[in-house]
């Protein structure tokens, strides 16, 4: 008997399914954000949820990012499990006091008495021709603050499973979804219940000559580069940390011990970014196994420009990764 073919969902549909299942499972879960109800968010990721769960659990809010985030913190402290929708990750600056000074610290400051089981969903990713205030990938900001967990899913399967784990987690969890992947990325998602634990990296492609550590949409850049490398006889492993906090250091280190070469690719700004932290973890853990310097590729250190001719230059691409990998492997 052949296995039924696994259905495919888009990245956005997988997220919606995770949210719907958790809203159904737990009456204390609710969502709030700007235009999330009838409009289903500007990206239409939540379409249909208000019809099933009503406006009390899928709540349209004023355009008050700090206020709704603060309200979620208070609701989380008192028995609810709020999911806040912050339309663009660029608005992180508006909410940072509530996230970094309140949500992240309340459990610790209270000596473990109070908990803040909330999820903050927001977006990342350039390429949408949305210019400097709607294109940034600011997951490094959140990852810097102890007390927060930070999730950057790359596939529909991971997005659904990690979202469900995040909602059930007793800590504030920030999930950054690449807005360019909502409709364009499709992948297998099994019917029925599953979760993906926070803090476990995933090998997206096995290889032996070089490790490409990549996050979110950069996983696809790395996979494309791996195909190009394959054509010239270089076997690349693509490793997706999936969560930045907690970070599965061991899997990163083990992969680099095996391949001896690594490039870290992330869409956040390169300076003081995620890539630097991961490079340091690898340099510490696999130093004696390295045959080449640890290299990293992030977004260019410029505000994201509007013009397509300029914007595309700022994001790492497969060809750039291919060239650097080739160089590290001593093939010119």
């Amino acid at each position: 008997m052949s296995m039924p073919e696994m259905r495919e969902l888009t990245f956005g549909d997988a997220i919606r399914e995770a949210l719907a299942e958790e809203l159904r499972r737990d009456p204390t879960v609710f969502m709030l954000g700007e235009d999330i109800a009838e409009a289903g968010t500007t990206f239409k990721v939540l379409t249909g949820l208000v019809e099933e769960f009503g406006t009390e659990r899928v709540l349209d809010t004023p355009i008050s990012e700090p206020g709704i985030t603060g309200l979620a913190v208070g609701a989380a402290m008192t028995g609810m499990r709020p999911i806040v929708d912050i339309m663009f990750g660029d608005f992180s600056g508006l909410i940072m006091d509530q996230v970094a000074n309140q949500a992240a610290k309340i459990h610790y400051m209270s000596g473990g008495k109070l908990k803040v089981p909330m999820v903050l969903r927001t977006t990342m990713g350039a390429g949408r021709r949305s210019a400097a205030q709607h294109s940034q990938s600011l997951h490094a900001w959140y990852s810097h603050i102890p007390g927060l967990k930070v999730v950057v899913p790359s596939t529909p399967y991971d997005a659904k499973g990690l979202m469900k784990s995040a909602i059930r987690d007793d800590n504030p969890v920030v999930i950054l979804e690449d807005k360019m992947m909502y409709k364009t990325v499709k992948g297998p998602v099994p019917e029925g219940e599953y979760t993906v634990p926070l803090g476990v990296a995933d090998v997206k492609r096995a290889g032996t000559d070089i490790t490409l550590v990549a996050t979110s949409s950069m996983v696809y850049v790395a996979l494309d580069a791996a195909k190009l490398l394959d054509e010239i006889g270089i076997s690349a492993e693509v490793l997706d940390p999936r969560t930045l906090v907690p970070l599965d250091k061991q899997t990163l280190i083990e992969s680099v011990k095996k391949t001896s070469r690594v490039i870290i690719i992330d869409e956040g700004y390169e300076q003081y970014g995620i890539t630097a932290e991961l490079a340091s973890v690898i340099a510490d853990g696999a130093f004696y196994y390295l045959d080449a310097p640890v290299k990293r590729m992030g977004a260019m250190n410029v505000p994201i420009p509007f013009s397509p001719a300029l914007e595309d230059l700022t994001i790492p691409n497969a060809n750039g990764v291919f060239k650097m990998a080739k160089m590290l492997c001593g093939k010119s």
Partner: protein, 331 residues
Amino acid sequence: MSQVKIEESMSDVDREQWLHMYEQMFKIRAFEEQVNELYQSAKMPGLAHLYIGEEAIAVGICEALTKEDYITSTHRGHGHCLAKGASVDKMFCELLGKEAGYCHGKGGSMHIADQDTGNLGANAIVGGSAGIATGAAFSSKRLGTGRVTVCFFGEGALGQGMLYESMNMAQLWKLPVIYVCENNLYNEYTHHSETTAGSMKARAEAFGLLAEEVDGQDVREVHAAAQRLVERARADEGPAFMLCNTYRYLGHHVGDIAREYYRPKAEELKWKTDRDPLKLLSSWLTENKLADAGIFEQIEGQVRSEVESAVEYALNAPFPAPEEVSKHVYA
């Protein structure tokens, strides 16, 4: 109200209630005096922001709440915590960074939280708890618990957008929350007239909140208003704003001693002499023959000895073990 009417309406229950409030106010006063002493004798790490002069607000309001009702507090929060039922020994331990403190010494003066008494935590960001209080009220409404939340803040928080975003949502969704503005006249070292345009009360009224202004030195007036507004919130009739006019007797924090550059000594003296919340209540009780001087001496003596033994206990209590530093980062 004429004196005869007051006496007629005054039962033993009322008398006990006012004496209890006197005791609570005095406890805050005595606690804060000890904190000042601990600072001046270099026994307390860091700083503290004292509530002396403002006691009638915390007590008048918290006495209108149940233990299950929530409060959020501020950097000047010791009074709120005590009025909501915190114990002085755990408070002192927290202020001294001791293991037995409310937060195992990890919060300190500005972050005391105690879920057993509904205290969702003091907050060191001005206006920082407005969202939290509103969220707690949101939970109460959704979960049908009937709990009311009081959000304490100083008039300095009127400069923070967070407060207005929160009041807007509270009114939109008719949440059981009361925003209590303690106007002690000074945003740290700056008179509010230099920072706050227009009318304070009208700011809340613009959102449609019921707003009341009370004499924050008169615990009876504060309590009466709080009872009305709490009852209203509990009956799902919506949020409210209370503007309580008060005065901070001491500096912005314990180290703010030379204050003449921002406010005259005569002003401080006038408030302490004419508008002291403890004196106002004790005079009213004695004038109405509900109490004599002896009862106040008795209360004060009991409270002082409780406070003194709590300080002693806290000074001798152990610090947290080094392992505590990395506990509770994550739940």
